[in-house]
């Protein structure tokens, strides 16, 4: 009967005589937040590609293979050679004049900031960029590659330039995770500040304990990651996004140096299974559940994404791989930093007016299986939509690269799926307690 009363009220409001306009305007449902914006209805009539000319679009996204740190294909490769390879690729494959690039932003985490900044600048010269093209690095821990891409998107949107490159570079062979050198004694009275010092593996154990993620669930996630990555490699799915790197490899036993071309990820273990994983001892905590087998691998690699205003892409006749729609960075409890995506994804999706149900594909970084499993459960995501070609447990997690690597992986998969896939999301948890997420739309929708 409440429903009938409500309907009666709605319908009776239609019969409002004109003389009570002052009464009507006081009703709570009247919207006072009105604005006009450009109408795009006419655009389509001129045969243009759909969407706004001011969209920030991705026209190229490439990565190197991802190799095991210290033991894999890039153990003897200098980091700037990795970056130079992908920077050169985005320019050569699109035939964009490198001088037109407004900025190059490189996500990178472990290397000392000033050294890495100079190395990246040098890499741009190796790749053929003139001195007039500036470059900078960005560090938001594990999301740095995604942060680089979203920084460039923001600058293009702001009108500072029209073409930019968001990239990522990490060599965990050369650089390692260190503890802070001088710790402020105040951490003893600021619990959250102290939790920023927790080793990442301990935060993974915290997630597993606090949210009840079992060892079995974590191992299952690891098996699936490897199986999917192996299947994707066998199917040649990564060929479109991986740029081969010509480099050297020094045999660890004989010391003999030889030239190799690295074009395949070397961290994938197709035979990974639950029985073998169950034998591994917890890596961070006695009686824990996080092992070397269900955590991401430390790796080397690079990636680069070429972004520009849609208008520029249309002028240059470049196919549009994807549209950058939104980005969100959020803060969470540092003790369970792994829950970051569960907070960041809804924020990014909501900011673009969508709902989780509208998202067709996800790339969520598998820093650890515990936080990955937790995020899928928390958000109610269909596992068939997430990390469909494997994730960091199989592929590796070169910290500053993963975000940009995921752009290449996501957009290429969306392209393959075509009409069945319109929106994709990339997300990762961030050390010291943050999450980041971005929403992309398929370019040819």
């Amino acid at each position: 009967m409440d429903k009938a009363i409500q309907r009666q009220r709605v319908l009776l409001d239609h019969l409002q005589p004109i003389s009570s306009s002052s009464n009507f305007s006081s009703q709570t449902h009247q919207s006072t937040d009105l604005s006009a914006s450009l109408c795009f209805a006419k655009n389509s009539s001129h045969g243009q590609i759909g969407g706004s000319d001011d969209d920030v679009v991705i026209v190229a996204a490439y990565r190197t293979a991802i190799c095991k740190a210290k033991r894999g294909g890039f153990k003897d490769t200098l980091p700037d050679d990795l970056l130079a390879t992908v920077l050169k690729a985005v320019i050569e494959k699109t035939n964009v004049n490198p001088a037109e690039v407004g900025d190059i932003v490189v996500g990178t985490v472990l290397a000392p900031g000033s050294d890495r900044g100079i190395e990246c600048r040098m890499a741009a010269f190796y790749a053929g960029f003139p001195e007039t093209v500036p470059l900078r690095t960005v560090n938001r821990q594990c999301s740095s590659g995604l942060q680089a891409v979203s920084d460039v998107a923001a600058y293009i949107k702001a009108g500072f330039y029209e073409i930019g490159i968001g990239a990522g570079l990490e060599s965990m062979t050369v650089d390692r995770v260190n503890r802070l050198r001088n710790i402020n004694p105040k951490v003893e009275t600021f619990a959250e500040a102290r939790d920023c010092l927790l080793p990442m593996g301990i935060t993974s154990e915290n997630v597993a304990q606090r949210y009840g993620v079992t060892r079995l669930e974590q191992d299952q996630a690891a098996v699936e990651s490897h199986q999917r990555a192996a299947a994707a490699t066998a199917a040649g799915k990564f060929k479109e996004e991986i740029i081969p790197v010509s480099t050297k490899f020094v045999d660890p036993k004989t010391g003999v140096e030889k030239k190799i071309v690295v074009s395949v990820d070397d961290g994938i273990r197709p035979n990974t299974n639950l029985v073998d994983l169950a034998k591994l001892k917890p890596a961070f905590q006695k009686d824990g559940t996080t092992t070397a087998g269900n955590a991401s691998q430390i790796s080397d690699g690079a990636a680069a994404v070429l972004l520009m205003k849609r208008r520029v892409a249309v002028q240059k006749g470049l196919p549009i791989l994807g549209i950058f729609r939104s980005f969100a960075a959020v803060g969470v409890d540092p003790a369970v930093m792994g829950v970051g995506p569960a907070v960041a994804i809804p924020a990014a999706v909501k900011s673009v007016g969508l709902e989780l149900g509208n998202i067709d594909l996800f790339e969520i970084n598998e820093a650890f299986a515990s936080q990955y499993v937790y995020c899928l459960k928390k958000l109610g995501l269909d596992p068939r939509k997430v990390n469909v070609n494997g994730g960091a447990i199989a592929l590796g997690h070169p910290l500053g690269v993963t975000g940009a690597r995921c752009v290449a992986t996501l957009l290429n998969e969306m392209k393959r799926r075509g009409k069945d896939c319109r929106y994709g999301v990339i997300s990762m948890c961030i050390g010291s307690g943050m999450g980041a997420a971005a929403v992309f739309e398929r370019g040819d929708f």
Binding site: M1, K3, A4, R7, Q8, V10, L11, D13, H14, L15, Q16, I18, S21, F24, S25, H29, Q30, S31, D33, L34, S35, A36, S37, L38, C39, F40, A41, K42, S44, S45, G50, G51, S52, R325, S326, V352, G353, L354, E355, G357, N358, R422, E441, F445
Partner: protein, 308 residues
């Protein structure tokens, strides 16, 4: 002229885009406030003096506020139901197989449904939960939800030429134009001081949209003539300047918005609120209307709907 008596109060009537003699009618018991609903599919006889035949009828647990024909399948009809569901019916299947699908996502009454006439693969629903949803026939959930309106969305209508553009009319006093490729609405028009109950695109001029309001007017050219809220408005598929409206003043009016004295005809055949009106795409000048007097009229423009 053909008349059909429906058991419940009429809410909407639509001509089939495939068969010139076929139309669908949405009805709701107790004026849509409480009770059941029924979807009627009617066939007109070639002889106007013969009665309208009923091809099919489907009962729903709640009132049906709107109906829309599929533009890609001649036997599929979409119903906007007051219980928040959007139901799909296939006339080619027996009643026991219908509805073939029921989408239950809207949290309040669904007030309108509209099939995409250009791309022919999707349709919209608008609801009193303040949202518009985009659907395709092959997906169990909505493709997207558009939620900017601050009150009931009474109408969402696709642009007749641009496959991705639609307009929505709301009780929040705004008309919004959307492009489904954009995250938000691309134009917001505060065209009325009161609730906007309906909208429609001109079929020949993409810059012209008509809106119908509680203030009884259309804003582009202010067309005054109805004595109460205008419930539906429709542009002619055949003549650029011609449009039709129906109102709580129980009349159906035809207008030429380019003429100073815009009112071309007024039909007062309904004895209760005139709630639904449509113009046939296949037969020029053929019109249909339905109202809370439980009657569906079909007549040629310029003739008396009540003439035998």
């Amino acid at each position: 002229m053909p008349v059909f008596k429906t058991p419940f109060n009429g809410y909407s009537v639509k001509f089939s885009p495939f068969y010139e003699n076929r139309l669908a009618v949405a009805t709701a018991q107790n004026f849509g406030i409480l009770g059941n609903g029924r979807l009627h599919v009617l066939d007109l006889s070639a002889d106007p003096s013969l009665p309208i035949g009923e091809l099919a009828a489907y009962d729903t647990a709640d009132g049906i506020y709107d109906v829309s024909w599929s533009e890609s399948h001649d036997s599929i009809v979409i119903a906007a139901v007051a219980d928040g569901s959007v139901k799909l019916y296939d006339l080619a299947l027996p009643p026991t197989s219908n509805p073939i699908r029921s989408f239950q996502e809207h949290t309040r009454e669904v007030h309108s449904a509209d099939y995409n006439p250009v791309r022919r693969d999707s349709f919209l629903s608008s609801s009193w939960d303040d949202t518009v949803k985009l659907w395709t026939l092959d997906r169990p959930t909505s493709v997207r939800t558009f939620k900017e309106h601050a009150y009931c969305v009474y109408s969402a209508v696709w642009n007749p030429r641009h496959a991705d553009v639609f307009a929505s009319a709301s009780g929040d006093c705004t008309l919004r134009v959307w492009d489904v490729r954009e995250p938000g609405s691309t134009m917001i028009l505060p065209g009325h001081e009161f609730e906007i109950l309906a909208c429609d695109w001109n079929k020949y001029d993409e810059c012209v949209i008509a809106t119908a309001s509680v203030d009884k007017r259309f804003p582009l050219v202010c067309l005054n003539g109805h004595g109460y809220a205008v419930r539906k408005v429709k542009f002619s598929p055949h003549v650029r300047n011609l449009m039709v409206s129906c109102s709580y003043d129980m009349t159906v009016c035809v207008w030429d918005f380019m003429v100073e004295d815009a009112l071309v005809s007024r039909y007062d055949h309904h004895t209760e609120f005139a709630v639904g009106v449509d113009m046939s795409v296949l037969v020029e000048g053929l019109m249909a209307s339905t109202g809370w007097d439980e009657l569906v009229y079909v007549w040629q423009h310029g003739t008396d709907p009540r003439a035998p």
